[in-house]
Amino acid sequence: MTKVCIVFDRLRSEEKMLQKEASDLGYDTSMLDAKITQINTDSKKEDFDLGDVVLERCVSYFRGLHFTSSLEFMDVTAINKYDVANICGNKMIMTLCLKKNNVPTPKTYFSFSSESAFENLEKVGYPLVIKPLIGSWGRGVMPLKDKDSAEAVMEIRDINDGPHDRIYYLQELIQRPPRDIRVITIGDEPVAAMYRKSLEGFKTNIALGADPEICEITKEMEDIAIKASKAVGGGILGIDMMEDEKQGLVVHEVNNTVEFKGLARVAKRNIPKAMVEYAISCIRK
């Protein structure tokens, strides 16, 4: 019987929903905790209970990325693919990929030292939004509204001096309603969308308490979501868009391990079921 494996590092309701839907569809399931799985250069897929296809669902980006590389080394079909995770996990690579593929995206500036980032800010003008290259749930995303706030953020970056802290990602501040749009795509098909309304400030991350509300997928949203999905290599994705007053919809982020707990409760489509069905369709014949 066909088996779906769900790789996790923290079992959330999303992973349990996927397991339930796979079982309800009549497939065997296995749950594999990446934290306690040991892989080596002689490992074969038969050494693990990986089934016919793996849904990689680690909450830790780097753990999921490297685990996926191991899966692909063992010729296991993994969703999403390593290349997709690699693009989506790094905001600079993702933004370049979107722009290269003519997906509307906010104008973004890249600098490779704090001095250069500061010089760019002074040249372009305030405000710009600084975002860490790697990171989620809106952490470290903040508008630099003036010279003082920019200097403070640069100083913190210089003190932290992590491997990605010397690469500066500064994005135009989009004039938009206090919300953004999350479209979930499965195999390049938009299946559900929601508005994420900020409670205060400009962040609209659900993890920070933003209020989700179902959103009808317009033709424009559909076209842009499909284009963004194809640009990063497809799979199961969360495409985040903003409604720019001047440019229309712009994609500011494509998420690799999409969270769907809130949207699943209100969406017309059964999201975890659609994800499992897509995974099954990816099994190499």
């Binding site: 996790f8 590092d9 923290r10 079992l11 992973e15 349990k16 749950m31 905790d33 934290k35 909450v59 830790s60 980006y61 780097f62 753990r63 996990g89 790697i134 990171g135 989620s136 749930w137 952490r139 993890a207 969360g238 998420n255 690799n256 391990t257 999409v258 969270e259």
Partner: protein, 55 residues
Amino acid sequence: MNCPECDATLNIPDDASVGEIISCPDCGADFEIASKDGANVQLKQAESVGEDWGE
């Protein structure tokens, strides 16, 4: 089962699975279910939120 941190009573649902996080209602500590065999549940300290966590 009691909280390894503060000894408060932990409520572990019957349908909880290995890998799920249990939070202590008193001290707020998070524990991960390491193994579960009927009512015999083993807990371990849950990982703290990492910089690379999330979507």
